[in-house]
Symmetry: D2
Subunit: 381 residues, 4 copies
């Protein structure tokens, strides 16, 4: 398969038009203005509710709308299928799209269970061999400050990392009168805070350190065990909060704490790395700042430096605004779209994370669940 169509822009189809669909639409509308990438056409947005998806197509500026994703992925003018549906639909759509020869960008989590994820990895491997890209959307890797953090680690600025600490705290379930939803049932959501936000925390630890988890100890807790449903109180069958420690293959130990009950925390993903020659801190509520400590400068000058990650020399920043003009949460999606387009264009550009990364992460989450079920005893991967 040629990487780029000869005579037309890359055609994009977006499946899903809710929160993630809106964020991805913003990225597809913006990527060509911000970056020097192949031309794209926003061909079609897909959803089950025709009226709603028609409205979305109009507002989010897609050429067409559709309700049948199978038909869409068979179209010749579609090159990229961007999957923003709930997780239980990921496998079916992604596998079909890959088999149809399309590049795929799939939102996290890769799938709701390991079997599905395994099948997706197999489909992706075949597709990749054919020159397709199968990309997984842990978008926070493309927040410039986190991309810079990874660069600092890869450049050796931190020396050997011994300890990594990530937390993802939210508070949208503090009110015990907040009602039941599909997110609070195991059969639809898989897990609670674990799959939703611990997945980000663990991905960041692995991404930033460049180390993989070999063993975990975990705890899950459901703090409000019943919530009002349509017919009275229903059991909450997923976790409200989760904790884990991770053994990493490079020798570091990671710690993870996530919660949907952390009063006052809105979207507080924090990461800290401690190495033999430096340290890093990050907080998603101030996403344009990376705090870096260089342990090799004289101790009288040492401390955490607030790097405002808005210089043209910083990752992704050459394309945006002048220094000091900060980016928002949404821009990471545009950066993600850029990297996907470049991976499609440039034969030797690999895209990470890929589906195998998603499967590996799923196994870490499963191990946390297994450890909790064993009263916290360690589980080896």
């Amino acid at each position: 398969m040629p990487h780029l169509p000869a005579d037309r822009p890359l055609g994009v189809a977006l499946i899903g038009y809710a929160f993630m669909g809106r964020a991805h639409s913003q990225a597809w509308r913006t990527v060509g203005a911000a970056f020097d990438v192949p031309d794209i056409a926003r061909r079609v947005i897909v959803g089950r509710d025709e009226e709603a998806v028609a409205t979305a197509a109009h507002r989010l500026d897609w050429e067409e709308h559709a309700t049948d994703w199978r038909e869409v992925i068979s179209r010749d003018d579609i090159d990229i299928v961007d999957i923003c549906t709930p997780g239980f639909l990921h496998a079916e759509i992604a596998i079909a799209a890959l088999e149809a020869g399309k590049h795929v960008l799939c939102e996290k989590p890769l799938a709701n269970d390991t079997a599905e994820a395994q099948a997706m990895v197999e489909a992706a491997e075949k597709a990749t061999a054919r020159g397709q890209v199968a990309a997984l959307g842990f978008t926070y890797r493309r927040v410039p400050a986190l991309a810079l953090a990874r660069q600092f680690v890869a450049d050796g600025k931190l020396g050997t990392i011994r300890q990594a600490k990530a937390a993802y705290l939210q508070d949208w379930l503090v009110d015990e009168e907040a009602g039941m939803s599909w997110r609070l049932r195991r059969e639809t959501a898989g897990s609670g805070a674990l799959g939703d936000i611990a997945s980000h925390a663990i991905d960041q630890i692995q991404f930033l350190t460049g180390q993989r988890t070999t063993a975990v100890r975990g705890r899950l807790a459901t703090m409000v065990p019943q919530r009002p449903g349509e017919d009275g109180l229903e059991d909450v069958t997923v976790d409200d909060a989760a904790w884990a420690t991770l053994e990493l293959d490079g020798g570091a130990i990671g710690s993870v704490e996530v919660s949907r009950m952390a009063t006052g925390a809105k979207n507080r993903l924090t990461v800290e790395l401690f190495g033999t020659s430096g340290a890093l801190r990050f907080d998603l509520e101030n996403p344009n700042e990376l705090w870096y400590l260089d342990a090799t400068v004289p101790v009288t000058e040492q401390g955490f430096t607030r790097v405002l990650v808005t210089e043209p020399e910083h990752p992704y920043l050459e394309a945006w605004w002048p220094q000091g003009h900060v980016l928002g949460w949404e821009n990471a999606f545009t950066n993600q779209a850029r990297d996907l387009l470049l991976a499609i264009r440039d034969e030797d550009a690999a895209y990470a994370p890929d589906f195998a990364d998603g499967l590996a992460l799923q196994r870490v989450l499963d191990a946390v669940i297994a450890s909790d079920a064993a009263d916290g005893a360690g589980v080896t991967l």
Copy 2:
């Protein structure tokens, strides 16, 4: 003039495609996705260099490009003329566009001198009487945190404001080898840090307090008096930094400090307001935070509260992402486009700031220059 065309979207023409043109393009591409506003069409982007403007049209997603703004403003399918040119072109274009019956959004500063600004105000008054909107782009008023600050003041949360303090610090001229440019010559730029960034600081003081300046005392300084030009050293004829105190008609005193020599400050517009029952602080390098102190709560609990301005109840936020998902610098331009479209649609919606506000601000800047020329002695407006 009917507020909205019956059978087509509002047609927008953008004059200018540099930094501000890119920011405004982002806004015009995004506003319909984020907000419930009248439909628009991004008809044409205008610039003098045909090749460059053609490229801009392609990347920034405008239907057409053009090199003759006069022709563009005469087109029937253009309803809004958005002026992002250098300041010395504002008057000619804005007046012509208003006379042609178009709505106008003009970037700040309104004009390079008071005579031009006066003519623009007259044209705007006539146009407004015909139902047109003439809007001035002090975009920072539409940073959600600053809009919230204004709301807090208007609601009386601060009581009587006695003291307002604004600074705008940048550092792009610290290097004395940085070369001459049109921005450093009085004949092209009018003034230096004063017109460029003190204008924002003073606008914020007046906007947030709701008070107008009645007298000023000022100081200007050029710290690097000569810089390398094409033929050797040239004189810098504008200010690198400026200071002023303002008497405001509500009894408050404002202080302003701006600089392009403030090493380490990237785009640090800070505002602080001190009132009889509360206080506010803001820093544009963390634009999603408003710090509010309620002086009426028990003293044991008192302090500045970091309000993360990302709740649906906050100004402009109903349209964006869930709580805790922060916005970037560029989003204020989208908010501005929204307000302009609503002012066009809704007969009784006034848009502020208008051209008269721009003229009033110009007079404050002139008074600072006059005060400095008088060795700091006060100048009454």
Copy 3:
């Protein structure tokens, strides 16, 4: 025993003159100036090295020095024995002093093992029945901001606390060439970061929430397993870092992370509490600040408030400086001395923490060790 001697000040004997001895000396010199407390006399400081303790007596302003603590605790003019020796001497001295009828202030940890701690509790119970005070020095409870935090919780401002998070991060062992010492051997130190600093983190969680630990899951790690000793590399036999989750009897879950390898963290004890109607944050590196979120105010104004804990209405502050004049680390020791003196003077004033609290905490630490030995499986207390 009468609470206060009729005709002379309370006589204080201090055993130990190193870091803690200096801090306690500062407190004894200062307490009468800051607070309205019974008069004291700094009678004698005790140490094994006569020359060193003589110097200490002179510099730290004690009337006398001595080398035999047994003799000192038999003196009639000594009412308070303040124990700042290494932990393995606590039990012997404290029990003897209590049996001699003295009030005792014992630095943490109470003892190096549970058997000793148990004996100390028994001696303290008998002494308390005789009207003596047996006080344990978890001094951070008397940092004003943490005392205020406890007051907020006790007043119900946080509602039901569901989650508590404490970390204590230091970096003095980052350098792997840092040599062996008694602190790195199990036989002398008992444990490493666990006993030294996790003890503080766990004490804060229990103190602030008012809840006791009922079960733990833990992990310990020794990141640099050998360090240079006098005769070559020696094994480090204690932990460099520790993690735990705690089940608390009020339903909350606590998490603890401590490390001596956290590059750039100097003395960073942080605590966060999340309740149904509010939240709190604290960082010992900025000890005069308490961050409080009131979840009951309108969401547009909600956020963490930085309370600068220097108002006369704040705990312990009536005695110090005007508002805004911050206190240092050492002042908490003076506050502690005050509370001890008041507990001695006022028959009905109980002093917390007492020896039983120290024993209970020791059992939590033991449970962490046991859990780690069981590969992380939970241990019930």
Copy 4:
């Protein structure tokens, strides 16, 4: 005069026992414990109200009390006279003490008017020639972070300083019902916020930059012109707030803003310095932090570094606690006592600031008043 008495400690007399008297007492009690300095004896504390000063002597741990300062300064066992009285008494006591051969430490401001200050300088010059020390108490110079800042500047880390910015904001007069006092009358206080806190701000600018003021432009404001006195409303005859810009002899421009009406600011002295190769920031509400930006490191790593000034290598820190154990406001007074004792002991140690510095500062304050009286026009020194 021999620098140190041969056979006894240096005898200290403290005149004044209110706020400053308490702070200085704390310093005299602590200095010998913290630092390796000559022995002192806290001989006598002096005040007009015998009962009050007797109580103070007991609580603050002075050997004796007295009511007649003239008698005290004639005592042979007194070597140091520490003056903590209101400003209008400074001249008389200091001159007498210097003429009696004593070393003098005088709290700021040096005097209430320039004539008195001039006489004090003359007395100090004679005394200095005899080997006495005449020290002025701008204690904030001895906050370790500010001493470190000065060291950084002196070491050239900032390059050429072009801009300095200091503010001192307090809020104790926000309430317009707060009553009249001697501090609000020109005849007793000299000036308001200007003399009280702008003096600190200006002293810091001059101290840190090492540059002297050559010209000023200023503004004063009285925001609450009348306040309740014993017999009804009285006129406030001093300033509530003040602003100034300073021309400095090294080419920098300084700006100053001070206020007693800055709601929510408790004791917020902030200083910022901008140089050609670096920048510094400080805030007295977090006095253990110095924020340093090194403009010579790669731009990707650049930013303000939070240096926690608690390392043994930092100024004054060798004597205090381990790293990360922060100091309080009061410790600067102990550092000041140390420097005074060393200046007395070491023939070649000069103490700064001296009385001449106090006089020079008084002249800057006078120039601000003169400039305000001239509607802001510049006044040359």
